[in-house]
């Protein structure tokens, strides 16, 4: 029996209410229920979470490092999207 037949799952944990689920790792499991149970044992042994998502890794579409420039460089010269681009008088302390 080959372990690879157990698909890979990505694990996302919400550490407490009010926060988003964050990726924390991956694991192998035969099905979604087992993936949830294993995620609880592997990733929440010390109260790290109040909610878990498991997603089959094969279902994730990811951008490629080669596309990095094409995807992200255009944002680099758009300083006007940041508050510091706008000059205000000293007297205006907080805006």
């Amino acid at each position: 029996m080959i372990m690879n037949d157990w698909p890979l799952w990505e694990v996302f944990i919400r550490s407490r209410s009010g926060l988003e689920h964050r990726h924390c790792g991956s694991l192998h499991a035969a099905d979604a229920k087992m993936a949830l149970e294993n995620a609880r044992d592997v990733y929440t042994r010390r109260n790290e979470g109040v909610s878990i998502w498991v997603v089959p890794s094969a279902q994730i579409t990811a951008s490629q490092p080669e596309e990095q420039a094409e995807l992200f460089d255009p944002a680099a010269d758009k300083a006007y999207r940041h508050p510091t681009f706008y000059v205000l008088p000293e007297e205006v302390r907080h805006m």
Partner: protein
Amino acid sequence: MNEAQTTSLEEVFNRRIDAEEKIEPKDWMPEKYRKTHIRQISQHAHSEIVGMLPEGNWISRAPTLRRKVALLAKVQDEAGHGLYLYSAAETLGISRDELLDQLHDGTAKYSSIFNYPTLTWADIGAIGWLVDGAAIMNQVALINTSYGPYSRAMVRICKEESFHQRQGYEILMTLMKGTDEQRAMAQDALDRWWWPSLMMFGPRDDESPNTAQSMRWKLKRKSNDELRQAFVDQTVPQAELIGLRIPDPALCWNEERGHYDFGEIDWDEFRQVVQGNGPCNRERLEARRAAHRNGTWVREAALAHAAKQADRDSLRKAI
């Protein structure tokens, strides 16, 4: 890809490492970087998994319920740490099966320390204090390693492991407050585990051929000898505090260096154990193989169950 292209990719890669940028799984990396990381991360994972065996031996014989739950939690942590690390290794394009095969057929190594037997309860104290202490020393240095998934696994592991060392020290401290026999048991455990613990940091720097390359890639942030010295400096006062004697006649404080001087490790013993001739090498590997073999039906049953459930679900949807 021609040679010139590879060279320029490698230059970019080296610049990223120099700038303390993390390397992520899909980024270009030199083949040797990938292979070296697979080897080191998998060795680390195997060490966590095999490391459960000497301690597992004492779970059912822990002297109190408090000690038992602590030891259980520690061993469970080690299983978890093994899993984090296997996952990190898998991001480099090797499968879990290949990793396990390499452990079971002896091609992959694990930390030699686990080839020593746990003869008394005091050994559980010595392992937590010394073996986990030495491992933490190594691992803290690895938090800043260049490979992202390995570094992230280290952060989690270091956070979880500090209780391991404390519970070990507490076991020995308690024994040292006990009867003469209990104190002798604690001292005997230190006598047997001290030198193997120092060996955990690997060969001396002048005999460690991979150190320069590993430092270059930030796969290693401190040399074997630096870490070993830090471990000795940290541990000696802890031993003295509870009345334990370090079994090294050459050990003494060197005012000038600001460090402890210590005796030479028995490198012949080190090589023997690495080569498979330690007291428990065969027993440990056989235990791993048997566990894998005996788990086969569980893995198969889980898959069969998953397939059946999926069939039922699709049938229900069709109706």
